[in-house]
């Protein structure tokens, strides 16, 4: 160490040449702004995104909200009707061409009037965020919103418990108000979720990660292991740019987890789970129900003609002495919809064997449900009204 006093310390501000003056910053700012604004738009033009009449957002891209938005923007025919909802609308146990929207199209004799706008893993608090931020293209249209009472079946399902819970689509839920007790993300995560929702470029980055990099950032993708023991890292020497195939991945041609051939596609009774005691939430305290109400109001504010389908919940799974509170909840939902003059349908439950669990129908269940809905005079009237 040389003896030198502190006043002799090198008084250098910069040890590199990355030092921009005001003119440089202006140019840099313009270029960066242009890149941020233009990239998602250009990307939409150059990336292939092929959809069919029964298209649904692939399971692996459930968190790709930018793609969801792009999908909705594609639907420019005002006569087409979007079905918003969770995995019941998406079709958890069934193939894409066996969902509710498919059977409604079949009933209506049209090929693509009804659009599957469901996303796997959603729930009312997340649907609210999805509709609010990524479904802005849907204005002055007819929309169907599914109300799944399962989300009010316990404090945990309603996200009311104090203990931290990890849940899907946390980036869609309200980050600060209303407060979700079991959502314990730090301020940075919450703010980054808000920024992602509001900055197209950031949503596009998530799309890039979802579509081509296994839902990871590019650096993390290069570090990804193959799950073997000892681990190997197959992407270490790969060129990340070569991964970008410029075509949105689709669902696998054969989905082993869905459809009649899948072992999951069976009646709920086959799982030997008997009737269940649910801890139904009071509607006036339910976070999910409040989010559902806000979603209806937001859609109506956009000029959308909303029709709500309540359930049908698998009432056979509800323990007998638990049916009272369930009915009370169901009636409360119906009462509010009536009060608010929201068109709704509350179909009777399907036969027990057509449910895969508490709320998801099997293929035949969807078919029957579509028939019931389509034959309902209220629905026909709603379809015809301008």
């Amino acid at each position: 160490m040389k003896e030198q006093t502190t006043s002799q310390l090198p008084d250098i501000s910069f040890v590199n040449e990355v030092r921009l003056n005001a003119r440089h910053w202006t140019v840099a700012f313009i270029i960066i702004a242009f890149i941020l604004l233009a990239t998602p738009r250009v990307w939409k033009r150059v990336e292939r995104f092929e959809t069919t009449a029964d298209y649904r957002i692939p399971y692996g891209l459930s968190r790709d909200y930018w793609l969801y938005q792009r999908r909705l923007q594609q639907i420019d025919d005002p006569k087409r009707i979007i079905l918003f909802g969770d995995s019941v609308i998406w079709g958890e146990y069934v193939l894409p061409e066996r969902t509710l929207s498919h059977f409604l199209n079949q009933e209506s004799g049209s090929r693509n009037q009804f659009v599957n706008g469901g996303v796997n893993g959603l729930f009312p608090l997340a649907i609210e965020g999805l509709v609010d931020n990524y479904a802005k293209a849907i204005r002055h249209r007819k929309v169907i919103l599914h109300c799944n009472l399962l989300w009010m079946s316990s404090p945990k399902a309603d996200l009311q418990v104090q203990k931290e819970e990890k849940f899907n689509h946390s980036r869609l839920v309200p980050q600060f108000r209303p407060r979700i007790p079991c959502y314990k993300a730090d301020a940075n995560e919450r703010l980054s979720a808000i920024i992602e929702r509001n900055v197209q470029f950031m949503s596009w980055v998530t799309h890039l990660q979802n579509a081509y990099f296994h839902d990871k950032s590019i650096p993390l993708w290069t570090l990804e292991d193959d799950g073997s023991d000892p681990a190997h890292y197959p992407n270490s020497y790969k060129n990340p740019l070569a991964q970008i195939k410029m075509a949105v991945p689709s669902d696998p041609a054969v989905d082993p987890l869905r459809g009649p051939a899948s072992p999951r596609h069976k009646p709920w009774t086959a799982n030997a789970s008997g009737p269940t005691e649910f801890e139904w939430i009071e509607l006036n305290t339910s976070l999910q129900w409040a989010a559902f109400q806000r979603t209806v109001q937001k859609l109506r504010k956009r000029g959308d003609d909303v029709l709500v389908i309540v359930g049908p919940f698998n009432e056979y799974i509800v323990a007998k002495d638990n049916l009272g509170p369930y009915q009370k909840l169901h009636d409360g939902v119906v009462r509010w919809l009536t009060q608010e003059k929201v068109d709704y349908l509350a179909p009777e439950p399907l036969p027990s064997e057509l449910y895969a669990d508490a709320s998801h129908p099997l293929t035949e269940g969807y078919q029957q449900l579509a028939k019931r809905i389509y034959s309902d005079p209220g629905f026909r009237k709603w379809l015809l009204q301008k």
């Binding site: 160490m1 003896e3 590199n16 840099a28 301020a187 940075n188 570090l223």
Partner: protein, 533 residues
């Protein structure tokens, strides 16, 4: 609150406009102090007690020191002890208050709530020393109290557990039936015993003020808020640079000149720091962690590359933090000292330490090395001083033998190469690039001890680098590419081609590339390595 997170952006968007709006008032210093306390309290509000206590005590001690005569004239210990008298009214009041506090603290230390007793006993000791300082009217005693207090805080929070564990292990080895209690049992009101973030930085900064004042190198700051802002100035509070009072305090006297250049320079520094942290340091950390967590499973190439990666990780992490700190301060019009000057371009170990963590190495030079004798005396004394300084510097980084060995290795390295670096042969005949590579390799080797989880891991890694099989290291090529691009940029800075880097086109392109890369590829928001020190 980390610089590279969104809450910090919100914080800055509130703090800066208000700061500039207060330009024509006296409130800008209280605002800066409040902002800094909020920034620090964001981590853990309990930490605020500590930083406030340290600030108040050092402020008081310097005030009292200022009331004592210079040159030890006031201290005629025996006479003053037998015939107490005070030349200064302030010292008289200080004596009374300190004496009362001593009695109060010792009373609570004996009869107070059990969880409060150890703290009160220590506070009683500090107050007793203060009573003595006032009675003897001695500047030395005030300095001593500041040293004891700051170092005790540091020792307790940072090293107590390490020392106690080692002592207990030694007692056990000697079959003594003595077990020292864990330091957490000494915490008042059962507060959690956790290392306060940045304690090593703000204690050193505060301490430098009292030492400099004692030696007459700095004026006494009469405005408490200004002094408190100096100790906790938020850009550099957590991980430096460790500022000196004579450099930073005068900047708080007048509202800094508002210049466009401050904004553009500050933003440039901040973007570079952000890129270093988010794009480089965090990315490298994943590979380093993979290998260093389980070194037995990796071959020599992976261990070498992980060590190489760590060398760059720690540089990007720490210098990135410093760049951001300096950038934020610069936007406000304050200049913080340079902390890193492309250290991996050093041609000697001595030079390395004038380029790496400059504020800390200069601190150790001024307050440890020079007081020990510095370069005065024979070779033995110089080497002894170097050894002690580097050993302390190593231990400053953490309570583990690995850090001590790291410090010793650097001391040995400097001792061995000191004469070589001074020789004309080394200076003139050895190609610069060879010297740079040799220094880099040695520094990388020492980083093994810095990063390893334990001493045995460090020896295992150093051994396996030479003995283990040459297996596929599976290191991400993209990661290496990024590091080499930065390294190349640094080398270019020292070549005549530097002029190319100065053109507007290159500067703007580099910033645009960094920002776009950050938007697309940032690697998570991990904390900074140096926060633990």
């Amino acid at each position: 609150m980390l610089f590279h997170t969104w809450p910090f952006l919100v914080f800055v968007l509130i703090v800066l406009p208000v700061f500039f709006a207060l330009k024509k008032t006296r409130l800008w210093i209280p605002w800066l102090m409040a902002a800094s306390y909020f920034f620090y309290g964001w981590w853990n509000p309990y930490y605020l007690v500590l930083v406030f206590y340290s600030t108040v005590l050092d402020y008081l001690l310097v005030t009292l020191m200022d009331h004592c005569p210079l040159g030890g004239k006031g201290s005629e210990p025996q006479r003053r002890l037998t015939h107490p008298h005070f030349d200064d009214a302030v010292l008289k009041y200080a004596f009374i208050v300190a004496a009362l506090l001593t009695v109060g603290a010792f009373t609570l230390g004996i009869w107070g709530p059990p969880t409060l007793r150890p703290t009160m006993a220590l506070l009683g000791l500090i107050c007793l020393l203060m009573t003595l300082g006032a009675l003897l009217s001695s500047r030395k005693i005030w300095l001593l109290i500041s040293l004891i207090n700051n170092l005790a805080l540091l020792l307790f929070f940072k090293y107590a557990r390490f020392v106690i564990e080692n002592l207990n292990a030694a007692f056990n080895w000697m079959h003594w039936s003595v077990t020292l209690p864990d330091p957490s049992t000494l915490m008042p009101f059962n507060f959690p015993y956790v290392l306060p973030v940045g304690i090593s930085f703000f204690t050193f900064q505060s301490l430098s003020y009292t030492i400099d004042f004692y030696f007459g190198k700095v004026y006494r700051e009469r405005n408490f808020l200004r002094f408190a802002t100096f100790v906790c100035f938020f850009p550099q509070l957590m991980a430096g640079p460790i500022e000196r009072a004579r450099h930073l305090l005068p900047q708080f006297i007048e509202f800094p000149e508002v210049r466009l250049k401050n904004f553009t320079d500050g933003a440039s520094l901040f973007v570079v720091g952000l890129f270093k942290k988010l794009a480089l340091a965090n990315y490298l950390s994943f590979y380093v962690e993979r290998v260093y967590e389980n070194p037995k499973s990796f071959g020599a190439p992976a261990l070498m590359l992980a060590t190489f990666a760590f060398a760059w990780q720690i540089f990007f992490d720490f210098s990135g933090y410093t760049d951001m700190a300096r950038g934020i301060a610069q936007v406000m019009g304050f200049r913080l000292i340079l902390n890193f000057n492309n250290p991996y371009l050093s041609t000697g170990l001595g030079e390395f330490w004038t380029r790496w963590h400059i504020s800390l190495s200069s601190w150790f030079r001024d307050y440890v090395y020079i007081p020990l004798g510095g370069n005065r005396g024979g070779a033995f004394r110089i080497y002894r001083n170097l050894f002690i300084t580097f050993l302390i510097s190593g231990i400053w980084h953490g309570a583990a033998w690995t850090f001590a060995i790291w410090g010793i290795l650097h001391a040995c390295g400097i001792m061995v190469t000191r004469e070589l670096e001074r020789s004309a042969m080394y200076r003139e005949d050895v190609p610069k690039i060879l010297k740079q590579i040799a220094v880099f390799i040695f520094v990388c080797f020492t980083w093994i001890f810095f990063r390893a989880e334990s001493l045995s891991d460090a020896f295992l890694i150093s051994g396996r680098i030479f003995k283990a099989a040459w297996t596929n290291p599976e290191v991400p090529a993209l990661m290496l590419l990024l590091v080499f691009v930065v390294w190349l940029y640094q080398f270019l800075l020292e070549l005549p081609g530097r002029e190319v880097l100065k053109t507007g086109l290159v500067r703007v392109s580099v910033v645009v590339a960094m920002v776009v890369y950050l938007c697309i590829c940032s690697s998570g928001a991990g904390s900074f390595i140096y926060f633990q020190f």
